[in-house]
């Protein structure tokens, strides 16, 4: 089975120039954790996810100083969260995005999701336009449906 059969075709996307806070509100309204960022020609320019927002508001050094536990919310984090409405999606988004072709096999998508730690992968057509998006849940569902339909 190819990924184009299970992908979500009606892809909500955001423009790179969108306000980051509005983009975050969109994520929360739709109850999804990430959206692709596209330009006017439906070409992929980045990925905007909850993870990227967290990365943006927390200090960058937390990964380098080892283990510690916050007991309070530092003012700096609060300020950065407030400042989210002054920056654009393009300042936060991840530009290095894994994508797949419409005709990619399901297992290959699964492999990518595991090795590249991606929860959702945009699907592109031959001219590199975004035509769909597939999530971890979609892949799992499809794989298990396929396997359960095999006669033992």
């Amino acid at each position: 089975m190819k990924v184009k059969e299970i992908m979500t075709k009606d892809v909500t996307s955001i423009a790179a120039e969108t306000n980051a806070k509005e983009a975050l509100d969109l994520l929360q309204k739709r109850e999804i954790s990430g959206l692709p960022v596209m330009d006017a020609n439906r070409k992929l320019v980045g990925m905007f996810t909850e993870k990227e927002v967290l990365s943006a508001i927390l200090p960058s050094y937390i990964e380098k100083v080892g283990r510690f536990v916050y007991m309070e919310n530092p003012k700096a984090v609060r300020q950065k969260a407030r400042a989210l409405s002054t920056i654009k999606v393009k300042d936060i988004m991840r530009q290095d995005v894994i994508t797949v072709d419409e005709d990619t096999a399901l297992c290959e998508v699964a492999r990518l999701m595991l090795t590249q730690k991606a929860r959702r992968i945009p699907v592109l057509n031959k001219i590199r336009e975004v035509v769909g998006i597939v999530s971890r849940g979609d892949i799992l569902r499809a794989l298990f449906e396929e396997y359960s339909s095999d006669t033992p």
Binding site: G66, M71, E72
Partner: protein, 463 residues
């Protein structure tokens, strides 16, 4: 003409000038090549910082292909023992990080009785210098910068003065012992000076220099310190318990700190132990971290791989490895002998003048180049002075202090500066201009170096 092309052409001409001068000074072909390729690597790290490892790789290959150095010597000069020392220490630091040392540090500062702003700045200076004495400057500055940012955030003050102070203290502190910065261990392994020598001769001087720097920064930043002072009094008056970060399990920390302390102890006693066991100089010095790290990796065997892969700064270590090899080639080809001769001629064979020259030139050089790069470059030159009949010990101290303190003069003088300011910019969007730094950097450095200068010249302990 785009930026990259311009930088490349600039690099070409800088190296060309060096090569040309070395020809005029009378170096032969091999020596000129060694000097040119070495300076190409050094300038390249200035102009193309992100590509420094790549350039180091190519540089060393060029030296081999042009027959400037042979394989066996290249490996010898690369000073694997120093690198392994650093690897061992980095593993220990990884362990410290994992048991929550950072948190312990922050809470330690906040739990000081009757905290005032002056105590705060004193404490962070001493801690920064202390860390720089024990672990590598990048890790220690990240710790201190993060701690300062969290604390200043809590009190809602501008962290800049405290970070600058911390960086200054770090650079000064890295001259105090054999550990810490690669500089100490590098000089120790090449000069034969022991940990005891450092403790007796370098450490006290470092403390005095540090004290002078603390006084200057306290005066320089007195206005902002007053602001912090009032804020601290406010929160103490409201009896808000300072609980920014939770205190990690003390038992584990105490255990790890004692392991670390024991390691330091054995390193301190390395000379005595080597004499006792009849071992080659510096054997124990370099073995102790390896033993410690090995034991730690057995204890935490599940995390051992992670320590090695994540906490050991391979990128930086590789760069150092190749840098040392290239510096060694300078000595091997005799280029540094020629340079040493010329310098000796200029100072008319006067040891006092030579000492002063070494101190100030290495300080100057270190203000532009990274500390380690400068020291690696000058070590062969100092070694060459031996054949000219100069007493080497004072020269080593001059190089040590000049190289470390000189890193305080400009923004780019040391990796610690660059890392700290990078974090500051990223987290608080504060950009320090060259001249803002240069002001306090120059004053503290000049005072500190002058103190060192007078001590080295006149105190008999340094003869």
């Amino acid at each position: 003409m785009n930026k990259i092309t311009f930088k490349f052409i600039l690099l070409f001409f800088l190296v060309f000038i060096v090569g040309f001068i070395s020809h005029k000074v009378g170096l032969n072909t091999q020596q000129m090549l060694a000097v040119s390729i070495f300076s190409a690597s050094v300038f390249a790290t200035l102009l193309f910082w992100d590509f420094r490892v790549a350039i180091a790789f190519i540089g060393i290959a060029l030296l081999l292909i042009t027959k400037t150095v042979d394989l066996e010597n290249m490996v010898k000069f690369a000073s694997l023992e120093v690198i392994l020392f650093l690897v061992g220490m980095m593993v220990l630091v990884g362990l410290l990080k994992e048991v929550g040392f950072f948190a312990w540090l922050v809470t330690l500062i906040l739990r000081i009785k009757n905290l005032t702003a002056y105590k705060f700045i004193f404490v962070i200076s001493v801690l920064s210098a202390g860390f720089a004495c024990c672990i590598d400057e990048v890790t220690s500055i990240i710790f201190m910068t993060a701690a300062i940012l969290e604390i200043c955030d809590y009190f809602d003050v501008d962290p800049t003065p405290y970070i600058i102070t911390s960086v200054i203290a770090t650079n000064i502190g890295s001259s105090g012992t054999v550990l810490g910065n690669p500089i100490g261990i590098l000089i120790a392994s090449k000069s034969g000076l022991t940990f005891e020598d450092f403790i007796l001769k370098a450490f006290p001087l470092m403390c005095i220099a540090l004290l002078s720097a603390i006084c200057i920064t306290m005066f320089w930043y007195r206005k902002t310190i007053k602001i912090l002072d009032s804020k601290i009094k406010q929160s103490l008056n409201n009896e808000i318990l300072i609980k920014l970060i939770s205190v990690p399990p003390e038992k584990q920390i105490k255990l790890v700190l004692s392991i670390f302390g024991l390691t330091l102890l054995f390193i301190a006693l390395h000379h005595r132990l080597e004499l006792l066991l009849g071992l080659e100089a510096n054997t124990i010095l370099l073995s102790v971290p390896l033993i410690s790290a090995g034991l730690v990796m057995i204890w935490k065997w599940r995390k051992a791989r992670e320590y090695i892969e994540k906490d050991v700064e391979w990128w930086t270590l590789l760069f150092f490895l190749l840098l040392f090899a290239k510096a060694g080639t300078l000595k091997y080809t005799g280029a540094t002998d020629v340079i040493a001769q010329k310098i000796s001629f200029i100072v008319k064979g006067n040891p006092a003048m030579l000492l002063s020259a070494m101190l100030w030139i290495s300080a100057l050089g270190s203000s532009i180049l990274d500390n380690v790069v400068l020291v690696a470059a000058f070590i062969p030159i100092v070694q060459s002075f031996k054949d000219l009949g100069f007493a080497l010990q004072p020269l080593w101290w001059a190089l040590l202090f000049g190289g470390c303190i000189g890193g305080n003069i400009t923004l780019v003088g040391s990796t610690a500066n660059i890392v700290a300011l990078g974090i500051l910019e990223k987290e608080r969007n504060i950009k320090i201009t060259f001249f803002r730094w240069f002001g306090i950097g120059l004053v503290t450095s000049v005072v500190a170096i002058t103190i060192v200068w007078i001590s080295l010249l006149f105190l008999p302990i340094y003869r």
